[in-house]
Symmetry: C2
Subunit: 217 residues, 2 copies
């Protein structure tokens, strides 16, 4: 049974993990018989957004504690994740990926990746283990693996795809029902809600992504 790590970044599209993307990923992994391990940084969120109004609320919340809502308490600090014992890692999207796992939301192509996130992903990559990035999360792959000529998709051309190219990676246009497989780097990406309009639409791309990641795990 493949051991798959999933990195969460909070709970809610505007300040954390996009919930639909996370749940569809979990469902596809579970239905494929994978053994799933959830991780999140044990650190404060960049900020908290009232999702009924779209405005920052001024509250402070912890990324790990909020991510635990998605995984029903089954989660560990990302610092405890061990690339030796995992066969693959998948990063769902949502603004949390761009605000809490890296600084893309505020710094664009000048972004930095959290150390615990970079440590795990770079170690997996060095061991030639497959990685999956959903929605906006491929910017993290672009930042970490541009030196290897990584090719990813965040859907359509625009500010995120331009940032990906500015970081030295290659962007390829895809729909929410599609994935891109960078065979050389074993990195799979799908745009999900970057361009998708419905849950059933993004489910197609996420199911494909999970299948291709597991095939290489």
């Amino acid at each position: 049974m493949a051991k798959i790590g999933v990195i969460l970044s909070g709970c809610g599209v505007f300040d954390g993990t996009e919930i639909h993307e996370a749940i569809l990923t979990m469902l596809a992994l579970e239905r494929s018989g994978a053994d799933v391990f959830y991780y999140a940084p044990d650190a404060p969120q960049m900020h908290v957004v009232d999702h009924s109004t779209g405005t920052p609320s001024g509250e402070q919340r912890n990324i790990l504690a909020e991510s635990a809502r998605i995984s029903r308490g089954n989660i560990k600090p990302l610092s405890e994740a061990d690339a030796q014992t995992l066969d693959a890692v998948i990063v769902p999207g949502g603004f949390g990926a761009a605000k809490n796992l890296c600084t893309f939301a505020v710094a664009g192509a000048s972004m930095e990746v959290r150390l615990d996130v970079a440590r795990l992903l770079e170690s997996m990559f060095a061991q030639k283990k497959p990685l999956g990035f959903i929605c906006i999360a491929p910017v993290i792959a672009a930042k970490l693996f541009s030196g290897a000529g990584v090719v990813v998709t965040v859907g359509a051309a625009g500010q995120p795809s331009e940032a990906i190219e500015a970081m030295g990676a290659v962007h390829i246009v895809k729909t929410a029902g599609e994935i891109h497989v960078d065979e050389a780097n074993r990195i799979v990406s799908t745009p999900a809600y970057m361009v998708g309009q419905s849950m059933s639409e993004i489910a197609v791309g996420i199911d494909l992504l999970v299948a291709e990641v597991l095939k290489r795990a």
Copy 2:
């Protein structure tokens, strides 16, 4: 296109809507072509639980604002829901259903149902429109419709099923992959995580529930 209301009660199994149950419900509704409308009480949660530790955190959060995380901001105050325009209503589970929609978590069979919840469900019931209750949410149907001899399931026999019978309703034992259809009252229920051990398992019951509710909508 059937117009289906979904009542949320926060975001997270221990103090709000059970996220997996809500997303599986939304996915099944969307795939069936339904037009879905999300509602939640615009009121404080009973309490907030740190889902990484399972302990109350002392924070205060609003049910509507947290529920909006599940529906990506697409939600209205429950007080604005109109039974005239909806064809059916579904209530996912999670402790939020037992803490924020009614007082079952603290009062058991002596529970009361929030007025905005009771108003919508009783109005739908009076118009002979179908209702779906998932996980622990059937206790609400038991409280409101015991006079009509309502029959529901929360899975196995235990404290919740005894409370349902104490409120004058009838409980029937089912697995997470099953539903019970109370034909006379057009009320469908499934136990989901009351007894289910995995997302793929509860998806079977939720898919069946959505199909039977839509069939009657």
